[in-house]
């Protein structure tokens, strides 16, 4: 074998293992990521007024005057008032819905990328690793043909290319190359490689003392600003030794995931193992801590590890379990033909076979396990044979308010009227041609620019990996060129992976506002209740990710510049509540902090109040009978101690 042949062989080996993606995997990933994007957008929308509008803690004018970095772009800054911000979120949500259902997938994948990076850039104060994961995942998916399966695009394209004109033709399934062939591109490699990098550095960066001694879980579970009620229950009932084991197990699992992702052989087992471990690990994180999108998007990312062989196995199982259904459709009935076409297109596991029935008979009958079933039962059998039909059929029954059988009977009775209503009784036009006929040629010509852009992004990501990770030796650190910094900055795709690394934070803290209203009440505008300035007795603060990260970042000295906007928000808080008596005449903003309990201990220590901001309304005189305002507190630095 010549050197060239060896190289070609190695290249083919590598590509076959790492640079191909099954269209079904991509389609599934699109749906799951799309749904998560919708949920994530809705989550941010629910706090849009407070965090993303001019009526909140950081107006777009303030952000633009003090951008968080040299390369900061957010389309959300064009939307200022709460109403405008609502429009922006509605647009973002609509875009994500279109991406999820796979309508003009390429366009909406690119737009989804714009919206998620914009959302991140609009309030970098609340960014965490989860946001970066979202940005990266959506970016890489934008380069992949995620609309080739399980999408409206695929449906439309399939319908354009093939339309059986008779029931007997329904068994000849249209499976063109774009529908079945694995997609080979740099993006397929990068998206898997990046997932492995996340775990490799999540292990490598955790070289701290706390991880070695296994005290991490103890500290993390006592971060009241982050934990959920379940975590509080666990920390109160879980023995320390078990926590120690859990910490070491976490490291082990992360290392195993990284190995399983890149393992070149036995991928039929290694990849599902990685998926199971990722789902297990991150579902645990997700239910114990409020980390925002991190856990759920990583789980979605792991679905991209599914390979052709897994899909084939699933399809084969489905065929064996639910297949073997013969569908009898009324001959010469346009309605029946159209129903058959829909079923044939949905039946991607080849579980159905079709045959012609009498034209005067029912629209649809089924033969299953040798028995002929009719009416609603026939539809149920057919639905069950379709992918996820066993889920959809009961759901459809619920949607129809339990009247599915009656509706089907009604449709059967009125099928002629329905055919006339939709014009199905008329001759169908021929299949449309490709229009200008050069679309496929243009698409082919765009492959190299696409791969070039990916190569550049891969280069930028490599630079970020070397630059952002603590475990990388100093000799490999380098000064990033401006173009690379701009790319990474605008897209918000850093590659520093190290959750609670090298050591977890041991300091818990929360922002508390001690506000004095016009009518003499004390109130914390963030909770709407009387301020609680004691953190030590907290059993979880119940804060959302956005709140807790905003609180945690606004206290930092480098974000002092944004405190003026916070002050302005507090001064006009009564406009948000709509009650003039809520107007604040004075407030102190504190960072309350304490130190998480040491191993075997249960009580936090070193409780402290650090004054971040203090304001008194000029010339305010308290009414008689009202307590006098306390003197303003002295502002101090609340930087982390360790």
């Amino acid at each position: 074998m010549t050197r060239r042949e060896t190289f070609a062989h190695a290249y083919r080996w590598f590509v076959a293992r790492y640079a191909v993606a099954d269209p079904r995997t991509l389609g599934l990933a699109r749906i799951v990521v799309g749904l998560l994007l919708c949920a994530n957008t809705a989550r941010h929308w629910s706090v849009a007024r407070l965090y993303y509008s001019n009526a909140g803690v950081l107006s777009s004018a303030e952000l633009l005057a003090h951008p968080s970095s040299d390369f900061n772009f957010s389309i959300f800054t064009a939307f200022s008032t709460p109403a405008e911000v609502n429009v922006a979120f509605a647009c973002a949500l609509a875009c994500h819905v279109c991406f999820t259902v796979g309508w003009n997938t390429r366009v909406f994948a690119a737009l989804a990328c714009l919206w998620v990076t914009s959302l991140d850039n609009r309030l970098v104060l609340v960014e965490n690793g989860g946001y970066v994961v979202v940005n990266l995942l959506v970016l890489w998916l934008a380069f992949l043909p995620t609309g080739a399966r399980f999408s409206i695009d695929a449906w439309r394209r399939g319908s354009r290319e093939n339309r059986p004109s008779g029931i007997t033709e329904l068994d000849q399934r249209h499976r063109p190359e774009w529908f079945t062939a694995p997609h080979r591109s740099l993006a397929s490699l990068v998206i898997v490689l990046n997932l492995a990098v996340i775990y490799i550095f999540n292990v490598a960066n955790k070289y701290g003392e706390t991880w070695r001694t296994g005290a991490t879980i103890q500290y993390v579970l006592h971060l009241d600003r982050m934990v959920t009620g379940l975590a509080v229950f666990l920390r109160e009932h879980m023995p320390y030794r078990l926590m120690q084991g859990a910490a070491w197990l976490t490291l082990l699992v992360e290392a195993l995931i990284a190995v399983a992702i890149v393992w070149p052989t036995h991928r039929r087992l290694a990849r599902p193992l990685a998926i199971v471990l990722i789902v297990g690990l991150h579902a645990t994180f997700g239910v114990l801590m409020r980390l925002g999108p991190f856990s759920w998007f990583i789980i979605a990312w792991s679905l991209l590890l599914l390979q052709r062989t897994h899909w084939d196995a699933v399809e084969s199982f489905h065929r064996r379990r639910f297949g073997g259904v013969t569908v009898t459709l009324a001959a010469a009935r346009p309605f029946a033909l159209r129903l058959g076409r829909v079923l044939a297109r949905l039946d991607c596991t080849d579980s159905l076979t079709f045959e012609e029935g009498p034209s005067t008979g029912p629209l649809l009958e089924a033969v299953y396990q040798g028995q002929r079933v009719t009416g609603a039962a026939a539809y149920r059998v057919v639905w069950r044979a379709l992918p996820l039909g066993f889920v959809v059929a009961p759901l459809a029954n619920v949607v129809c308010l339990g009247m599915a059988s009656s509706i089907l009977r009604c449709v059967e009775r009125n099928r002629v009227s329905i055919e006339r209503f939709f014009g199905w009784d008329r001759p169908e036009p021929d299949l449309a041609s490709d229009g200008l006929a050069c679309a496929s040629a243009i698409a082919r010509s765009l492959v190299w620019p696409r791969e070039g852009a990916l190569a550049f992004l891969l280069l930028c990501s490599t630079s970020a990996v070397l630059h952002d990770n603590k475990s990388i030796p100093a000799a490999l650190k380098h000064k990033q060129p401006k173009l690379v910094r701009a790319t990474l900055g605008y897209l918000r795709v850093s590659q520093g992976w190290g959750m609670f690394a090298p050591n977890p934070v041991r300091e818990d803290g929360v922002l508390a506002v001690d506000g004095y209203t016009l009518d003499g009440r004390r109130v914390d505008p963030f909770t709407g209740r009387e301020p609680d300035l004691n953190l030590s007795d907290a059993r979880g603060l119940g804060l959302g990710q956005i709140e807790q990260d905003y609180f945690n970042r606004i206290r930092l000295d480098r974000n002092r510049v944004y405190r003026k906007a916070l002050s302005e928000y507090l001064q006009t808080w009564h406009r948000a509540t709509g009650r003039p008596e809520d107007e604040l005449v004075a407030f102190n903003v504190f960072w309350l902090r304490d130190r998480c309990p040491e191993p075997f201990a249960v009580t936090p220590t070193e409780h402290e109040q650090v004054c971040l901001l203090s304001w008194r309304r000029a010339n305010f005189r308290a009414k008689t009978g009202m307590p006098a305002l306390p003197p303003p507190c002295k502002e101090a630095s609340a930087e982390q101690k360790d």
């Binding site: 001019n54 107006s59 777009s60 004018a61 303030e62 952000l63 633009l64 005057a65 003090h66 951008p67 900061n72 772009f73 957010s74 389309i75 959300f76 800054t77 064009a78 939307f79 200022s80 008032t81 405008e84 006339r420 209503f421 939709f422 014009g423 008329r426 036009p429 021929d430 299949l431 449309a432 041609s433 490709d434 229009g435 200008l436 006929a437 050069c438 496929s440 040629a441 082919r444 003026k564």
Partner: protein, 664 residues
């Protein structure tokens, strides 16, 4: 019913060809407007300019109701990217590719360009936005567009020469009556009428209006200056009167229900006079050019039909029916050949001896190249064949003759041969098939998606709902236009919508300020300009807006022709309303203004003043000029007073750190 149909045919329909032509012309207007803005991209659209985005948004915090995507772009490079995106929208809109999508995108872009700095809004922006917003609801892509071409290709797939020669296929994009058509025509007519109704000043009565208008250096173009210097006063007086009559005449002529063959062309001429005057002699942004583009809307169906019958140039084209690309090009040619000049003959028919062709046309010839038989029956190959094909197409005569010119003919022939030799490879690459494109039975009709007859109820309901929705929306746009016209003009007739806050809010968001009162009640009787006097470290004085010595006497008209954006901006900044924006202007000017990028050697500004210089215009026939006034509106040594509440944080940001810095 018949009356309604008669009225609908007169007022609710615009010929799709007129709409297509309007789209192309208006798209070009938008592109030219963008190019003019591009010149001042740093000054007006970036944070290095006269108004950083954060400062503008801060000023808008109380008033609100302004939206601009350009507020999200801070740096010059970012703004450059945004301009490239906008240009792409305009190009796709002009080409008619996904026309409605890009009409909406273009409207958003234009509104955003206008909303980025309220001080530079002008009459042109408002008119262009109005036209674009209404156009969104019209089938602008029904003709002369890539969309129509694509629809036509999909609807009818010709496979044989018989299919190609069948010219009975109807247009695939159906254009029905629409309220948008009436609204678009009304907008075109109302704007000049609103101007005419407000032009009540003495200059208009005396006929001096254009005389004075042409002496306002900021607003005139190079042609305007030429006209000012060369045209006799009598001619300008006549022109002024004709101009105003034309402004009055457009709307009534457009609404005349009878004698439309006469009324419409006259309305077109009147609109053309108004548009051409404003476009050629003045610089009001896209105002004049938009009116000129709108003339296309007034071309009636009969005129189009009569044009289609003109220019008969019958050709016979022998194409290679084995080659997918050739068939595709023949299909394209059929669609471009609106006059039906071209008939097609497959080269298979030549080899089979079925075609009635001169003996000089051999089989080898038809396999080597396209062969065109001109009206006299003489065969042509290669470049000359292409030349004749172009001559047979609408608007192709010039190109056709150009291709036949010596030199160019040889280049085209060489290129043609290169393509022709690779036509089968290209066909395969484009997925068009080659070496025996499936031959079809000549008697089989071409496939057509067009279902003749009545539509099924579902389609009718779908169309009805869509039309109703579009009618509602276009009605809302027109009501917004009327409300803005009421609020922004002093008209004797009012729609009564000017007090509706919802409509005014929508108008504000759409930047539909409707300042239709051009030169009303009369043009300015003084020539005015913003002049800056910067003193450099070398004690040199220069105007940082032009890079030239300050012209405090307004002696050099060319120095003050900075374009529509600067003209509108300087007009607004000198008024008290613009006072709160002066701090940012001061910062821009002290950084070096326009010349900051042009200077090769670094220089520094020690002192800067800006004056509003105003010189009276001598009355027609008089030479004497009164005293020049100079109002000091900026002084780098004096900080402007705080303009509004919350000014403590106004204009903070990185750029605030540099008050006076070296010029590059």
């Amino acid at each position: 019913m018949a009356t309604l149909r008669w009225l609908a045919n007169r007022y609710l329909r615009i010929d799709p060809r007129s709409l297509g032509l309007f789209r192309i012309l208006f798209g070009l207007v938008l592109m030219i407007d963008l190019c003019q803005r591009w010149r001042w991209i740093a000054a007006f659209y970036s944070n290095d300019g006269v108004l950083p985005n954060h400062a503008h948004l801060f000023q808008l915090r109380e008033s609100g109701r302004v939206f601009s995507v350009f507020h999200a772009f801070s740096l010059r490079d970012e703004t450059f990217a945004a301009f490239c995106g906008t240009l792409a929208f305009y190009v796709f809109f002009t080409l008619g590719w996904h026309t409605r999508v890009f009409a909406i995108a273009s409207a958003v872009a234009l509104v955003s360009l206008s909303g980025r700095n309220l001080l530079m809004n002008g009459i042109g922006d408002s008119l262009a936005i109005s036209l674009l917003l209404v156009s969104v609801f019209l089938p602008l892509g029904a003709r002369f567009s890539l969309d129509s071409l694509r629809h036509s290709f999909r609807a009818t797939e010709e496979r044989t020469a018989n299919d190609l020669n069948d010219r009975t296929t109807p247009s695939p994009i159906e254009v029905g009556p629409s309220l948008g058509a009436l609204v678009l025509v009304l907008v075109v007519g109302v704007v000049p009428l609103a101007a005419a109704l407000q032009q009540k000043g003495g200059a208009w009565i005396r006929g001096d209006a254009l005389y004075y208008a042409l002496r306002s250096d900021r607003w005139i173009s190079a042609v305007g200056e030429l006209v000012r210097n060369k045209a006799p006063i009598g001619m300008l007086a006549a022109w002024s009167k004709v101009f105003r009559v034309c402004e009055f005449a457009v709307l009534p002529l457009l609404l005349v229900p009878v004698a439309r063959r006469v009324a419409r062309p006259i309305a077109g001429v009147a609109l053309g006079v108004v548009g051409a005057t404003c476009a050629v002699c003045f610089n009001y942004g896209p105002y004049g050019w938009s009116l000129l583009a709108a003339v296309a809307l007034l071309i009636p169906e009969e005129t189009w039909d009569s044009w289609a019958l003109r220019g008969r140039y019958p050709l016979r084209v022998v194409y290679d029916d084995d080659c997918g690309m050739c068939l595709w090009l023949a299909r394209l040619l059929k669609r471009l050949d609106a006059r039906g000049n071209v008939s097609f003959i497959p080269n298979g028919a030549v080899s089979d001896g079925l075609a009635d062709l001169p003996e000089s046309v051999t089989v080898e010839m038809t396999e080597r190249s396209i062969v065109v038989l001109d009206p006299s029956g003489r065969p042509h190959e290669d470049a000359l064949a292409l030349s004749h094909v172009f001559r047979a197409l609408p608007c192709g005569r010039v190109v056709g003759h150009a291709i036949a010119l010596p030199g160019l003919r040889h280049i085209v022939a060489a290129l043609y041969r290169r393509v022709a030799n690779r036509r089968f490879d290209i066909s395969v690459a484009c997925g068009l098939g080659s070496c025996g494109v499936e031959r079809h039975d000549a008697s089989a009709p071409a496939s057509s998606a067009a279902n003749a007859g009545v539509f099924p109820p579902a389609t009718r309901i779908h169309r009805g709902v869509r039309t109703a929705l579009a009618t509602l929306l276009v009605g809302f746009v027109f009501a917004t236009f009327l409300a803005a016209t009421d609020a922004g003009n002093n008209l004797p007739i009012r729609s009564g919508l000017g007090s509706k806050q919802t409509l005014l809010g929508a108008a504000s968001y759409a930047r539909l300020t409707a300042p239709w009162g051009l030169w009303s009640p009369e043009p300015a009787l003084r020539n005015e300009a913003l002049v800056t006097v910067a003193t450099t470290r070398e004690d040199k004085e220069l105007d940082v807006l032009t890079g030239l010595p300050p012209d405090l006497e307004l002696a050099a008209p060319r120095d003050h022709r900075l374009g529509a954006l600067w003209a509108a901006y300087s007009e607004n900044i000198r008024h008290d309303d613009g006072g709160k924006f002066r701090q940012e202007l001061r910062r821009y000017l002290t950084r070096g203004g326009k010349i900051a990028d042009d200077q090769e050697q670094p220089t520094s500004i020690n002192k800067l003043k800006a004056f509003w210089v105003s010189a009276p215009i001598a009355a027609p026939g008089l030479a004497s000029v009164g005293e020049i006034e100079r109002v000091d509106i900026l002084d780098s040594a004096v900080m402007p007073r705080a303009a509004s509440s919350g000014d403590a944080s106004y204009g903070r940001g990185p750029s605030m750190r540099h008050e006076l810095r070296p010029l590059r």
